[in-house]
């Protein structure tokens, strides 16, 4: 995914900041990656390169860690993150159907972000409220007993609600560019 304007500088300063506060030892590598991801939301290739240089661990090893562990993501999250639980309890009552419905509506696959970076979709192992299965976490809100109809409702609410401000901003930006 293409870096946005100003994103490169943001990555550079963030990674340098984290590296300066760590011991730069191999043992610190996972905590470093965790901190960078906590700040940026994901691990851009650029960040992994700087971490590799800073810690002296080969780039292949850093990338190896980032891809080995489920926690790390290599593409930026969307403005709205949707996590579909596919733990045992959710799976048994049709969590996969919910995931499919989201994939259909958002036109992306699980683990991806829409090209406008508005929405991202992922599956998670268990969010710990098995009694409300199937469960979806929309941003930080837990939605229980989700059906494909509810998926449409969730998407509609996200489009109409929070995105109105964003649409406005985009519109203003476009207007500005036109002028």
């Amino acid at each position: 995914m293409q870096l946005k304007e100003g994103e490169k500088e943001q990555i550079l300063s963030c990674v340098k900041d984290v590296l300066n506060k760590s011991s730069k030892k191999r043992e610190d590598l996972i905590p470093i990656l965790q901190k960078v991801q906590a700040k940026l939301g994901y691990l851009p290739a650029l960040a992994m390169e700087i971490i590799s240089e800073g810690t002296g661990v080969s780039g292949a090893d850093v990338y190896g860690l980032a891809t080995f562990y489920n926690q790390f993501r290599l593409i930026p999250p969307g403005d709205h993150q949707i996590k579909v639980c596919l733990g045992t309890a959710c799976y048994m009552v049709g969590g996969d159907i919910t995931l499919e419905s989201f994939e259909r509506r958002m036109e992306i696959k699980e683990g991806e972000t829409t090209s406008d970076r508005r929405y991202s979709l992922e599956r998670v192992a268990c969010v710990g409220c098995c009694t409300m299965a199937p469960v979806v976490v929309v941003d930080d809100e837990v939605e229980g007993k989700v059906t494909p109809t509810r998926v449409d409702g969730i998407m509609l609410a996200l489009k109409n609600g929070n995105d109105q401000t964003k649409d406005k901003q985009d519109q203003e930006q476009e207007d500005g560019e036109q002028q």
């Binding site: 905590p31 965790q34 860690l65 080995f68 159907i97 268990c126 710990g128 409220c129």
Partner: protein
């Protein structure tokens, strides 16, 4: 340096804590369960509602956050402890009910028993949890404090005699701790059941000046949440157990390896570590003794294989979490090459009880070979889901039908899956197997870390085996060929079967491959990955055959083998609910007014089935996916 006696220092601490807790208990308290399970059901909102209502009424009452009481089916829950009344637990809370309770019970004097689940203390008016069938089987030991104490307040733990085992141990010799744990035959609760005492002894004798104690809280099983609940509800219990272990083996440094996906657990444990350090229960010269020990959290990044001991250590050293061949065992060569003790959260949680009450007391609970209790997260098709603790030796039938109150919706029991992706599926005939490490192993399942999923007639065992295998296949670290490629190939075969493809030889091949993966893998992830497949093949062979030979899924689950069909005689021409519910616009109204599903467009999401009003109940699933003949005639 004068030698202050740990026991004296502790008694002072205990008196202070008790005095404070007693003064707090003098006024009305509302305890809201805010472990992750409660929070996801809306407990934080409930807490705010209570606070707001109490403030509006100008009442004098405290709202306190506590952990998980274990009755997850009724979340969000709260306990109201009002002086003069036995504490009462309320479930299924919402803002209306909160308003009611504040008005009637907190402001008035009516405990509104019609909304109560149970009382927490014996009284003449309302039954307690112990009075229900579940109470007859449950024996709460390490869950004793969960949901009753404030996890963010160390005094709340100390007032219940917390850290007394540590004070007792520090007045004696380290060997006494080790001897007691050995004598108690405490078996590791991570799943394998290796005796903790023997592990500790090996580590003690491992020489070396530096030793480590690590707590494995990398609970990765989908559908298991015991360790998380304990850490969120009673973190000090685990810390105390770890300090005792460190004292026994002479370690100076310990780590808690907690999944980063458990932010609340990480936060509670960090808070607990800080508070314990402030009071001299961690850090240098603990309770005035010469013993130093400190704890730190390492956040695991989410890899199921890191539950394996050597993989976990590799991950802490900043490498990929791949297992190593053993020996050398961790007890002689572990973290940073030093002797290391790695035990599960629950294993450590038992230690303070064993030190306080003695090995003989511990051995009286449970069975001869597996003393103590077992903690399960009971989920799936069972009425009372939640966190339960029963003595070892309880049968699965008692656990599911008495503690869990059976299956909901009058469905037929089909199988119970124990031990997560590494465990097996046991059928009705195995329900009288007692729960202990060895009996479960003999039945083909494993104790695992304690996930227990109940399945009913609507669950397809092939699909269940496929689900678990997909999980282990994805989590395989890729080191051993059989685990890396064998599980992939097994998954391909299972995918074929769920699509109705496959022939007479398929099942033989699947079984052979499963056995090879079991035998050809280094660590327990690979060794146990075939368990769900092997047990379902053994107990539910007919279901596999129905898929392959008849193209039929008996439980009507596998989507390539079913179709949705609207029965014309049952369909009401006046109702349009299914048409609106379909996400792909596959349902249309025919010329004669009845509804029909366009099978090409249908994605089999079951939405219409749920939407169709119960008085018509016109939509059914058919397997094999063939439209009934009279239907086809009409279409022509």
């Amino acid at each position: 340096m004068s030698d202050p006696n740990p026991q004296e220092l502790y008694s002072k601490m205990l008196d202070e804590a008790k005095a404070e807790v007693v003064s707090k208990e003098g006024k009305t308290r509302v305890l809201v369960g805010t472990a992750t399970c409660g929070v996801s059901a809306g407990a934080l909102k409930i807490k705010e509602d209570f606070e707001r209502e109490i403030q509006e009424k100008g009442l004098d009452a405290d709202v306190v956050e506590v952990g998980c009481i274990g009755h997850c089916y009724a979340e969000p829950m709260a306990v109201i402890a009002k002086p003069g009344f036995a504490p009462v637990c309320y479930g299924y809370l919402d803002d209306g009910l909160v308003h009611r309770l504040v008005e009637d019970f907190l402001d008035g004097d009516d405990p509104s028993y019609e909304y109560a689940l149970a009382a927490l203390e014996r009284n003449d008016v309302f039954p307690t949890f112990e009075d229900f069938p579940r109470g007859a089987y449950e024996e709460k030991l390490i869950l004793e404090n969960c949901g009753y104490i404030n996890a963010s307040d160390i005094k709340s733990y100390i007032a219940r005699d917390g850290y007394s085992a540590l004070a007792k141990a520090l007045t004696g010799k380290p060997e006494q701790v080790l001897d007691e744990v050995k004598a108690a035959n405490l078996r590791g609760r991570g799943g394998a059941g290796f005796p903790a005492g023997i592990k500790w002894e090996a580590c003690l004798n491992g020489g070396a000046d530096e030793k480590y104690v690590i707590c494995n809280a990398d609970e990765g099983d989908p559908g298991a949440f015991m360790d998380r609940s304990i850490l969120e509800s009673d973190p000090h219990l685990v810390l105390e157990g770890m300090v005792l272990c460190a004292y026994a083996i002479g370690a100076q440094k310990g780590y808690l390896y907690i999944r980063a996906e458990y932010p609340r657990a990480v936060w509670h444990v960090q808070e607990a570590i800080d508070q314990a350090r402030d009071r001299g229960l961690l850090g240098s010269s603990i309770l005035g003794s010469e013993f130093d020990f400190d704890l730190e959290i390492f956040q695991g990044s989410g890899a199921f294989v890191c539950g394996e001991a050597t993989a976990l250590v590799n991950s802490m050293e900043g490498k990929m979490g791949m297992p190593e061949s053993r020996p050398p065992r961790l007890a002689s060569q572990g973290f940073r090459g030093k002797p290391t003790i790695l035990n599960n959260v629950k294993t450590f949680a038992y230690v303070p009880f064993i030190i306080n009450r003695g090995a003989d007391w511990f051995k009286e609970i449970g069975t001869d070979d597996s003393p103590g209790t077992a903690v399960f997260s009971l989920v799936g098709k069972v009425t009372n889901t939640g966190l339960v603790e029963v003595p070892m030796g309880t049968t699965l039938r008692q656990l599911i039908y008495e503690v869990g109150d059976g299956l909901p919706n009058k469905k037929e029991f089909k199988a119970v899956q124990i031990g997560g992706p590494s465990g097996g599926c046991l059928p009705e005939s195995a329900l009288d197997v007692p729960i202990d490490f060895d009996s479960l192993h003999d039945a083909g399942a494993i104790m695992g870390s304690g996930g227990l999923v109940v399945m009913d007639e609507d669950d397809c065992m092939v699909a269940v085996a496929r689900y678990f295998l997909e999980f282990t296949q994805h989590e395989s670290c890729g080191k051993c060929t059989f685990c890396r490629l064998g599980t992939k190939h097994m998954l391909d075969i299972l995918n074929d079967i769920t699509r109705g493809e496959g022939d007479a030889e398929t099942l033989g091949l699947l079984k052979e491959l499963a056995e090879d993966v079991r035998d050809g893998s280094l660590c327990n992830l690979g060794k146990t990955a075939p368990n769900p497949v092997l047990t379902t093949l053994e107990y539910f062979y007919d279901e596999y055959r129905a898929h392959i030979e008849e193209g039929r899924c008996p439980a009507l689950v596998c989507r390539d083998l079913i179709l949705y069909y609207i029965e014309p005689p049952k369909c009401s021409k006046l109702c349009n609910v299914c048409v609106g519910s379909c996400p792909t616009e596959a349902i249309f109204t025919r010329e004669d007014g009845l509804k029909e599903i366009d099978q090409e467009k249908c994605v089999k999401c079951a939405n219409c089935l749920k939407a169709c009003p119960p008085e018509y109940n016109a939509i059914i699933k058919l397997s094999p996916p063939l439209l009934p003949p009279e239907k086809e005639k009409k279409a022509k």
